[in-house]
Amino acid sequence: MTIKSFINRYSSLLMALAVLVALFLFWFVGYPQALNYQEENQLFLFSTDYFFSRFAVAGGLADWISEFIVQFYHLPWLGALALAFLGVAVQRLTLAVVSHHASETWTLLILSLLPVVLLTGVMGNENVLLSYEVALAMVLAATLGLRRISWWGDIVIVPLLYWLAGPMTVLYVLLRIVGDWRKEWWTILWLLAVELMAYAFILDEYPLKEVLLGINYYRIPLVLDTPGTLWIVPVVVVLLALLGRQNNLMGWLDRAWVAACACLIVAVAAVICIECWYPKDRYELLMQDWLVREGHWQDVIDRAEKYQVRTTYSSNAVNLALAMTGQLADRQFEFYQDGPSALIMPSVRDNFSNLPSAEAFYHLGMINSAKRYMYDIQESILNGRKSGRCMKRIAECFILNGQYKVAKKYLDVLKQSLFYRSWAEEAEQCLYDEVKINANPEWGYLRRVRYKKNYMYDYGQMDKLLGLLVVNNNDNKMAMDYYMAQLLLNVNIRDFMNYVGWVMQQRGYVQLPAGYQDAVRCIQSHGTAPGSVYAGYVKTRVMSNGVNDKQ
């Protein structure tokens, strides 16, 4: 067998293999941070309650399967592999549906990549949930598997599929009409009637728009935000099915130049998808989020040295990484500093912005603030899901606070998950056991360095809160670094100069850290020291909105 005949014979299989490898590399090497983001915005539980709560809504099975898969994103290679297989399934099903009435031409084979490419693009919007792709695969599988069922079978199949996969069922109806070239338009009306009946009698709390367009395909309720991109993939699949139905075009589709054009279309689509739907800055922030979560502090710094998004979020993440590696005093102003919020961001109502601040609070020993931020981040997930990451941190905070009854409540939830179970079981062993908790290197340290006296949190007085943290325990080195860093960010030169000597002594610095040297040089030269990075920051602050009146 020649290579050419081998390729011709196994073209379909080779294509599937190529898709598998490409998708795996895309997610695992290219965008593992996207997997992390999806995983931290859900908490899949192995419980009948959980299954039924998903199943109680149209599209619930797709949603449940999706969340089942997403939990494996905890291990990026496994998540990427799962997504790659799902992508291959979509491609193979598309090809099978499209070429059902036609011979499998090279052009159709190549064009069958288009839905999976567009799907991957659409999922660049981090709020598009995997249930969208799962629903697509379910509907394509139903179209293929039930093609021999008579049209009357749709009286049962359409409502069933609607309940299992959601409004993506419209694709099933359209593919049945297009594929069989029969004018059974009543099935569209039947689907609409099913949706309206569900709206009237079952899904009493959901707005019509969500019942018609999908409750679980998108993290944000569709009444607040309806991305039109969600419908690109079904439309393309229908168009491909129409193309595959044109028998008179088959000879034409078999030509090499047509196949080459198909390749070009797919390639252009892939480039457009990545360029338009995977914005560099957003994905850089998602990468920081992942690295911070994993505690890969040096990687955060290394990436920021090459490229740093100029946002408060990025400043928070980089400064935390610098502090955790003992570099904050030396290098803070080598990186972008987004004003006084560069260390800790004020409370923001979304499920992402406050994550590095919450982590900073935790590592500083500001346990109540860490818990508060994590709580609010979790409550900000707009589809009402809980977050395994947040719940784990909240449980830790309750353990540190000695509030074991509530901690157990959260541990009981986490114990129903796959990837948080072992941690929760270990943590449960520590409840009510002060010796064990204090012996844990992280928890023991945090219990020592946290606040001893009560203060009211006031974001506007962050420097004082950090100062009080230091006063409560001189061993809290990170709090000292943060305190000095906050003074510099506030351009509170008086306090900085007052405390720099004391901090040097407490921190055990042999010589003044490079960052402090630079700041002192800037201060002594009244902001005119050449090459001073701190002078650059002060100048930006003065130009933007003036500096702290304590200067």
């Binding site: 109680a56 709390e205 409370s347 509530v406």
Partner: protein
Amino acid sequence: MKKIYVYMMAAMMLASCTEKPENVTKVDKLPAIFPDYSGVTIPDGIAPMNFNVTGDDCDCVDVTVKGSKGGEVHSNGDYAKFDLDDWHSLTRQNKGGTLTFTVCVEKDGKWTQYKDFTMTVSPYAIGDWGLTYRRIAPGYEVYGHMGIYQRDLSTFDETPIFDNLAAPGACVNCHTPNRTNPDQYTFHVRGEHGATVVHRDGKEELLKAKNDSIHGSMVYPYWHPSGKYCAYSTNNTHQSFHSVRSERIEVFDQSSDVFVYEPSTHQLILDSLLMTKDHYETYPAFSPDGRTLYFCSSTAEPIPSNYKDIKYNICEIAFNPDNGSFGTRVDTIFNARKMGKSATHPRPSYDGRYLMFTMSDYGCFPIWHKEADNWLLDLRTGKAQPMTAANSDNTDSWHNWSANSHWFVFTSRRCDGLYTRLYLASVDDKGNVSKPFLLPQENPLDYYDKLLDSYNTPDFTTKPVKLDEREMGRQINSDNRTATKVR
């Protein structure tokens, strides 16, 4: 949606143990059960008081309940679960009597019989159909999925009055009927599409959330018994957060006043005695005859530095419902400041005999105060005392009376220190308060352990509240609001 879920869950409950107690060993101690229903007083017709045996895992629980006036129900399974109809018959038959619970527990093939415990069936019926309340995760500055719900007290059925799935992003709170009758009610919507919803004469009206004349939103409501008026406070509320482990949130007002709203004219009735600059006035409540308005008042102190000096007394002012005018004098009927305490959330019983309030060390928001307890002021004698039988060593607050004034519902954090749960207790003719019981659930341990919501602002309702959620969602999102004007 909920119906499907319930059916599916019911199908899952078919499997359970069915062992009968044999060779029983008796022990002289009470069984460890959740909820603690030993010695509580219940109304007849309440939902079955199912409970779980806690402590070591057990294989089977066998419970026999015998009534002092006859009747018996039996349960055998993973937990004590009683048939709804049999339970109702038993409580009806034993109204004014007691129920004795015999609990046997099987572990590793061995049965243990614990000391019996009793439950009193009150001679007073509860009178109302059920409860209304808000369920929300106990967050800080952010809320996610939440809503106002109602619960049939004779069963375990809970249905939403308004779930924010119908208006994503909306926060609803403070559902308040008129003396438990939902023909008139009000609640607030916060968020981007803020409003105060007033339901009367079978229709809803959405008022503008804010009016410049009152310098804020309409907040804590209380209906005039005639239904002609509804008193509200307007509060400039802030919250701050504690840094040490034992404390969580501090909510305080930087200003607050009390006024009365007349729904038929959309007029706000203001009075300088209820809008003083040197005092914070809040938590209004009309007396049952409608001729007195109770409210809480504290001297204004620098906030947040002196937040611990904010201590509220309970005051009253005469109110003339004929023309909606106030008296010319404010009297203090309970001076909590003198005791170094703060008294908030006054709720007169509908028979006019008592006034229940929450006592805490300071401030206007005892809900986050661990020391908060409910107190009862006898309006005939002017004497107040803590409701020791109903209070706990954790937060007990936000109470409301049943229509017949023999039962009250309140929130408590006694279970775990964080999540507020609903408790019910009775007050007899002599003012004796019974040990409260946790709102019954089908499988209470499982239900409350998994529930990640707190209960807020509970009240009784004489009948189910009827509200078209979708229509309400549409109205909330429409931003069509009725303006209020000052009379």
